[in-house]
Symmetry: C2
Subunit: 177 residues, 2 copies
């Protein structure tokens, strides 16, 4: 397969499309620039985590606060740190003073072209209840960093799923900023 | 949307299908049980990482050794630790004495039903060159744990992508087993 080969659209829906390049099939988001994920530790030393029902896996999932950049009409060129700030506020009710770029990469590079940008949120201030937009019904957990791994195991034993990005977040949260 | 609603197949390819439940579209693998990912630290204290060209993102990606369980004919019920052991050997040339379950979760729960199981590989012994099967052409990196975060930043600066699961692997690698 040559470097200049162009992927072909095999199917297109409202949110996703399926592309093929060579013998490789993969999923691609139709309406978003990238995903943003936020590592946010409060002044009390708690990591902010979300819990929500996720349709694709049919279970409640523990995740870092996250969302899509540029996925709403009129806002297609939204800057990534602004998207991260907006999603953190919508989901957790915390406003961040600063957002620092941590890493960017594909969470599932064999299956999808999706890219996720991780930000560290600093100088957090709670300004609202959070919970997400509209029908999202997100539960916010503030979990002490030093017991977080154990807490995650307990959630897993109780039948919730843990997005592995949470463990990446724990790695970054324990590093100095 | 009721709890008993069944997802509908919108499109089906050779490796993926697109499902819809309510207004949610998501991708699902057709032929595999789950993904397995291996956190493997050698006796010298090096984390094993892979580098390969990934078609969906069009770049070289640094990842933990990983693969699919049950994705080959006649082997559809492959046990997960065996799949992890096989993938580690194929990709890195290291044989693991034991594999310990670390966590299981969805790396992209808004986009796909994919589940990834993380294992810790213990008692590693190099028995072959690795590099993957057939056309995979995987480069193996053995990176000292204490300088790994810096090494990843250097790879990123050089234009490679880092799968965020690598940072989850770093978290587990630094925890005692």
């Amino acid at each position: 397969m040559s470097k200049t080969a162009k992927p072909k659209i095999l199917w297109k829906g409202k949110f996703l499309r399926i592309m093929r390049l060579g013998r490789w099939e993969y999923a691609e988001r139709v309406n978003a620039i990238a995903g943003v994920v936020i590592v946010a530790v409060t002044k009390q030393g708690n990591l902010l985590l979300t819990e929500q029902e996720r349709v694709p896996v049919g279970k409640r999932v523990i995740e870092l606060p996250a969302g899509l950049a540029g996925d709403t009409k009129g806002n297609e060129t939204e800057e990534l740190p602004l998207a991260a700030k907006r999603e953190l506020l919508e989901e957790t009710g915390y406003e961040a003073g600063e957002l620092k770029w941590l890493t960017a990469g594909p969470p599932s590079p064999g299956l999808s072209s999706e890219m996720i940008i991780f930000f560290r949120a600093e100088n957090l201030r709670r300004v609202s209840a959070g919970g997400g937009e509209g029908s999202e019904k997100i539960i916010v957990h503030e979990v002490p960093l030093r017991t977080c791994a154990k807490w995650l195991e307990e959630q897993s034993s109780a039948g919730l799923l843990i997005d592995p990005k949470v463990y990446a977040g724990l790695f970054f949260a324990r590093q100095t900023g």
